[in-house]
């Protein structure tokens, strides 16, 4: 692997190669002192003691990492000439192996690193061991242009018409001049790479599809020694060159930026605790999906076992302090937003969520109060959903508050709350899962109304009223309202800034509405409202000008009106109708038969009237008006009591003719027409 002799011409034929070891030249053992040599060294031009140092380094295995890089390059010049210019294919693998070995030792020198990789790339072109894209892609930034390995691999993929996998895109974008890598990307390079892969594969599950550029790949090797130049293009055949493309790398740069953002907190954590990698705490700073893929150290494995045991039967309540201590490893940990948030992030790495979650709700458990832990594989709710969720949670809080009012939550109340939680609209699958857990928490920890005040402060009066109404709908859903529930509703109204005097009226409306069979109490909120707190107003509140009728309700009332009409017509019309039809039912006739039939008017007209009143009525019919005095006298002459007689006769007239015949007053009027033509005749 060395050129030794007196003559080795350069490629251009002028002078000898700088790597040539001329044994005729004096070399002196430097005795431990290694002299500085220039950046572009040449064996010929070295001082005798530098030559000695070089030879000693060569003889001692070419691995002293402290040797000046010039000596390494001097050796390297020979290797590159042998590989590229001489193209000694027999020695190819041995040479490449030697370069790799050197790269391992001296790769930390930037200059050497670059040249060595260039050489390895060129060697690969000369003697391809397989597909270029099967080689390892660069995993860190090593250049300010796409390295040959990347261009070759991607070029080859394009020739074969294939999409580009994550590792080559990563290698490509890392080495683009326009890419700037933030600290997070270098400090947590390993996590950064893994995260890039996750994000890339999520965005491009089948790899990145690139349309081949027109530009062709030109490959030449310019020697590090400056002594030769070889065009390798012919070795490769026709291949597209991605070197000048920007759209793809721009897209990749977005992913890189995103990943760097996501790792920011983690990177800062590593900055504080360089040995923190792989700890439970570190996990909390990683994006959950990344945390899940990270290797499991002892501590992490332990926690996983603990959580598996805890959650074997679904959700679980755990004292807040215990959970926090377990997750942070800090015995003095205080339950605050920051500590709970980091705990939340750690748990996310185990597909476990906790409630109350500082991301979605306010109000954390106090010391001694529990968290609810539950399995959750679904992504966090999107930001756009949070407002809906908070509103839903608030509704649930109020309903739970009412349910707690009588000191305990019954099974029925619990079921109702669960139904309420399910029915709340405007939130997705994760939201509902969280809401269910939140309900568990609400059931375990009675709400303090004081904490509500700040939560409702931003709501409009209308929204607050909706919330209040919702709470009392929940309270009245079983149609049993306890005075204690009323009192807690009043407290809720007060906390909501509503008039507590409205509770009873509103409660009444809710209960009256729920007694309508076709009209269950509406416990939906939000519905399809877009985001924020713009909840559609209760239907009848705001409209002033234009009356809008709800066709469904109109139909219901119409139907009920029709039914009530039927009912009432049965009550009021049965007797009157028969009279108007001029046919009497059989029993009515038989009653008539009981009476004496010796009256001047037709039997039919008096049918059903007791005998004692018949003569009296006959005389009454002779006049249209009867002053009270005359009437008294007449009644007495018939041995009747006036009021009693009028009552009896009218009673009969109602049954028989559907109306009173004697109109009370002074004078009493006789409605003779009621009896029909016969009576009129008699009257005349």
């Amino acid at each position: 692997m060395l050129y030794v002799g007196v003559r080795l011409l350069r490629q251009n034929g002028y002078g000898d190669e700088n790597c040539l070891i001329n044994p005729n030249l004096v070399a002196v053992d430097p005795r431990g002192r290694v002299p500085e040599i220039p950046y572009y060294p040449s064996y010929v031009d070295l001082e005798p003691n530098a030559r000695g140092a070089y030879l000693r380094w060569l003889a001692s295995g070419r691995s002293d990492p402290t040797i000046g890089i010039g000596y390494v390059f001097l050796y390297f010049y020979g290797l590159e000439r042998r590989l590229i210019l001489d193209q000694a294919s027999d020695e190819h693998d041995a040479l490449v192996g030697e370069v790799r070995r050197l790269h391992e030792i001296y790769g930390s020198n930037y200059s050497f690193d670059r040249y060595a990789r260039h050489l390895l790339d060129a060697a690969m072109v000369l003697e391809p061991s397989g597909k270029f894209y099967d080689e390892q892609a660069p995993r860190t930034r090593c250049d300010y242009e796409p390295p040959l390995s990347v261009r070759l691999a991607i070029g080859q993929l394009l020739v074969e018409g294939r999409a580009i996998p994550w590792n080559w895109m990563f290698g490509w974008v890392l080495n683009e001049p326009e890419t700037t890598l933030r600290t997070a990307a270098t400090r947590a390079a390993e996590e950064f790479e893994a995260l890039f892969r996750l994000r890339f594969e999520a965005a491009f599950p089948d790899g990145y599809v690139l349309s081949p550029p027109k530009k062709r790949l030109q490959i030449h090797y310019r020697a590090a020694s400056g002594s030769f130049f070889v065009d390798l293009g012919s070795r490769l055949g026709d291949m597209p060159d991605i070197g000048a493309l920007s759209a793809a790398t721009n897209r990749m740069r977005e992913i890189v930026e995103g990943c760097a953002d996501e790792l920011d907190a983690y990177s800062r954590f590593l900055g504080r605790r360089p040995d923190g990698r792989g700890t439970l705490q570190a996990m909390g700073f990683l994006p959950p999906d990344l945390a899940r893929t990270m290797s499991e150290g002892g501590e992490i494995g332990e926690v996983r076992l603990w959580l598996d045991a805890l959650l074997a039967n679904g959700h679980v309540l755990i004292e807040s302090g215990e959970l926090l201590r377990r997750m942070t490893g800090d015995a003095q940990v205080v339950c605050n937003k920051a500590s709970v948030r980091s705990c939340r992030e750690i748990l996310a790495g185990f597909n476990v969520a906790l409630m109350p979650d500082p991301r979605v709700s306010v109000g954390l458990p106090k010391s001694g109060q529990p968290f609810v832990l539950y399995r959750c594989q679904i992504e966090d709710m999107p930001e756009t959903e949070l407002a809906n969720w908070r509103y839903a949670a608030l509704s649930l809080t109020l309903a739970a508050f009412v349910a707690h009012a009588d000191g305990s939550v019954s099974a029925g109340e619990r079921r109702r709350l669960e139904q309420l939680a399910q029915s709340l609209a405007g939130i997705g699958e994760r939201g509902h899962l969280d809401l269910k857990a939140y309900l568990e928490w609400l059931l375990a920890v009675p709400t303090q109304l004081g904490s509500l005040r700040s939560r409702v402060a931003d709501l409009s009066a209308e929204d607050r009223h909706r919330l209040g109404f919702l709470a009392l709908s929940a309270a009245s859903a079983d149609r049993h309202v306890d005075p204690k529930e009323i009192q807690s509703l009043q407290r809720i109204y007060k906390a909501l800034g509503l008039d507590e005097a409205d509770v009873i009226g509103d409660l009444h409306e809710a209960m009256a509405a729920s007694s309508q069979p076709d009209e269950p109490v509406q416990i939906t909120i939000g519905g399809d409202r877009p985001s924020g707190f713009a909840i559609p107003a209760p239907p009848r509140q705001s409209e002033r000008q234009q009356v809008r009728l709800d066709p469904e309700r109109l139909q219901q009332i119409g139907e009920s009106t029709r039914r009530v009409g039927e009912l009432l017509s049965k009550v009021f019309a049965e007797e009157g109708d028969t009279a108007e039809g001029d046919t009497l039912p059989a029993d009515s006739l038989s009653v008539a038969g009981n009476c004496d039939a010796e009256e001047p008017l037709g039997v039919d007209a008096y049918g059903g009237l007791s005998a004692q009143y018949r003569g009296f009525l006959t005389e009454l019919l002779t006049r249209a008006d009867w002053p009270r005095g005359d009437l008294e006298t007449l009644a007495r002459s018939h041995e009747l009591m006036t009021e009693g007689a009028i009552e009896a006769i009218n009673e009969w007239a109602f049954d028989r003719y559907g109306d009173a015949i004697l109109e009370d007053g002074d004078p009493v009027r006789v409605q003779a027409a009621l009896l029909g033509p016969e009576a009129k005749v008699s009257h005349a």
Partner: protein
């Protein structure tokens, strides 16, 4: 048209006149009743139960303007139609269920003044009822069935087992004597006694020879006596309608309030345990009266537990058989149907003769909404009155366009005219039983 019933001309006139005056019509309520079929159905069952010698109690709960009074009036008319006797009164600071200063006696007096039968639906039927009973006795005596006194004694025997039953019988004896002797003073004295108008025992003893009078303490016992008596007189039973119960809630003195609630509890217990018979109670009040935890019925634990709605009524199975019946406040839809019904009444039930198309109804509502806001459907009396006036104008001027009338004629009319109406109603209230369409009063 949801109401296919033919409407008699007399009914039509009564309805139109009453609505124009802003009061609940005496007749034909069935032609204008909007919805509440289930509630009405339940109350018809109640009335039938009373007619079958059973007992019922209902708390009709609704907010101002929900139509409690209208609804109770409807029930009242149904009861009369079913040949029951109805007593009705509004509670007031001076009229309570329990008192020591004559307020309960005053309520009893109001009830007996407003006692009505089918033939005397406007009240004042006490004389008729008494005479109907006595008249029958006299007839029986005439037929030789026995002496009048003995017959009265015998027929009223069922009353003797009740508190003060003996004195009640004695007073009826006096009334009969008065008739036989033509003694108007004695007759009046007997009626005064029955109407609880004697303030002292000595006064009553001097006039009628009885030991007791109907006083504050006897309020409920005498109602039971009346219930028994009207059956003996040939009626189906007694319905007692008490409106404006909120006046009890308004009592500031908790002892006085609780004493009244205890009276309600007594009635409720009697009804629920079946120890009352042939009597139904209908009590109208606001949600506060029922549910206010400090001063409403719910403040009285024993009542609260009995009145709490059925725990088992859920999942759409609604049980209206509990003593509390809730009326929902009116909505624009209710009002729409009401207007439609009124239009039908004007047309005597004949759709061909409708004076207005449906869109005129909504246009009219729009108009009212702009004039008086939500009140147009929450307290619909003004709206209804204005609508009846509109229909009258249309009827009398066949060529006119409703569009012009709705926007022009009605402008400014509701408020000024209604104030006058309210005064009218106020006057009428004393005589009759305060049958306004809404519960607002002067």
């Amino acid at each position: 048209m949801p109401d296919p019933l033919p409407i008699k001309p007399r009914e039509r006139d009564v309805i139109v006149q009453a609505l124009r005056a802003g009061v609940v019509p005496r007749l034909g309520l069935r032609h204008i009743q909007v919805g509440r079929a289930r509630e009405v159905e339940e109350l018809i069952k109640d009335i039938d139960r009373v007619g079958d010698d059973g007992a019922t109690i209902r708390f009709v709960i609704g907010d101002y303007g929900a139509g409690k009074t209208f609804f109770m009036n409807l029930v009242r008319l149904i009861a009369l139609e079913r040949r029951l006797v109805v007593m009705s009164a509004d509670l007031a600071p001076s009229r309570r269920l329990h008192a020591s200063d004559g307020q309960a006696r005053s309520l009893f007096n109001e009830l007996t003044r407003n006692i009505s039968t089918r033939t005397k639906p406007d009240g004042g039927a006490l004389g008729s009822i008494v005479e109907r009973f006595v008249g029958d006795v006299l007839q029986a005596a005439k037929k030789g069935e026995g002496k009048v006194e003995d017959l009265i004694q015998a027929r009223l025997a069922p009353l003797q087992e009740l508190v003060s039953g003996f004195d009640f019988a004695t007073v009826l004896q006096r009334y009969t004597q008065a008739y036989e002797q033509g003694d108007e003073t004695l007759k009046t004295a007997a009626l005064r006694w029955l109407r609880a108008e004697y303030g002292t025992r000595s006064e009553a003893r001097a006039a009628l020879g009885v030991r007791e009078i109907i006083d504050d303490d006897g309020f409920y016992d005498y109602l039971k006596l009346y219930a028994r008596f009207v059956r003996l007189a040939g009626y189906g039973g007694l319905v007692v309608v008490l409106d404006e119960m909120v006046n009890l809630y308004k009592l500031v003195h908790s002892q006085a309030r609780n004493a009244n609630y205890e009276q309600i509890l007594r009635i409720l217990n009697d009804v629920l345990q079946g120890s009352a018979s042939g009597v139904g109670f209908l009590m109208g009040g606001t949600p506060e009266f029922l549910m206010d935890t400090r001063r409403g019925l719910y403040s009285y634990a024993a009542l609260q537990s009995r009145l709490a709605e059925n725990r088992f009524a859920r999942d759409g199975l609604v049980d209206l058989s509990g003593p509390v019946l809730r009326l929902q406040s009116l909505t624009p839809e209710d009002l729409f149907i009401l207007l439609r019904n009124i239009r039908g009444v004007f047309a005597s039930g004949d759709p061909q003769r409708h004076l207005l198309p449906d869109e005129a109804l909504t246009a009219f509502m729009d108009h009212c909404s702009t004039k008086i806001g939500d009140a147009y459907f929450r307290t619909p009396r003004n709206t209804v009155t204005a609508f009846v006036n509109l229909l009258s104008v249309l009827e009398q001027n066949p060529g006119s366009r409703w569009q012009d009338l709705v926007s022009a004629t009605e402008v400014g009319s509701p408020t000024a005219e209604e104030e006058a109406k309210d005064v009218d109603t106020g006057k009428e209230e004393g005589a009759a039983d305060g049958d306004q369409l809404t519960t607002f009063k002067l």
